[in-house]
């Protein structure tokens, strides 16, 4: 019975007698009559108007939810795109080698780098000119928003 709602109604005595005499399940009869009425069985259109209003409200709720889902999809898609672009930019700039360079030299300022023997050796050992590596590494750090 959990799915039903209890409510009180008023009936004329003769109708109460009729229901009693015919051993009618009143709740079941009224549910059927009301369902039929709300679907448009009666001459009064208020049942249909109610149903129309109910459907419009449901449509509006669903439409709002759809908009929210579309917004969220767009937001996540943009976020993923931005991350992919960021990864691509880093990859284009030298990928793994610049990552290693960053591990070793992230604590130094751009000014300090060119003068550092360790940095110069690191560049030459890896077939880079010191100046090119310094420029590429500074760009890399800008991409990483590290400087």
């Amino acid at each position: 019975m959990g799915k039903y709602a209890q409510t009180s109604i008023n009936l004329r005595p003769d109708q109460m007698d009729y229901i009693g005499e015919e051993s009618i399940n009143t709740s079941e009869l009224l549910r059927k009559l009301l369902d039929q009425y709300m679907e448009g069985g009666g001459s009064d259109t208020s049942g249909l108007e109610f149903r129309l209003q109910e459907l419009r409200q449901r449509r509006d709720r669903m439409s709002l939810e759809l908009e929210q889902i579309e917004d969220e999809i767009e937001m996540i898609r943009e976020n993923l795109e931005a991350r992919e672009e960021h990864e691509e930019r880093i990859e284009e700039m030298g990928g793994e080698f610049l990552e290693l360079t960053h591990e070793r030299f992230h604590a130094y300022t751009p000014k300090q780098l060119a003068k550092m023997t360790k940095f110069r050796e690191w560049a030459i050992d890896n077939d880079w000119s010191v100046l090119e590596l310094k420029d590429a590494y500074i760009d890399y750090r800008v991409e990483l928003e590290d400087i």
Partner: protein, 47 residues
């Protein structure tokens, strides 16, 4: 104006949407149910 015999109160179990429909302010719930039962008794409404 003569009033009819007093109506009798009865508790029934309805679908929530039926109850919501009847609970609307502009619906005369008892009047509507009275009318539906009368039509059913008269054979004007078939289930």
């Amino acid at each position: 104006m003569t009033r009819g015999p007093p109506k009798e109160r009865l508790t029934v179990s309805l679908h929530p949407q039926n109850k919501e429909f009847l609970d609307q302010g502009h619906i005369n719930a008892s009047g509507l149910i009275d009318q539906l039962v009368r039509k059913y008794r008269n054979g004007e409404v078939e289930l």
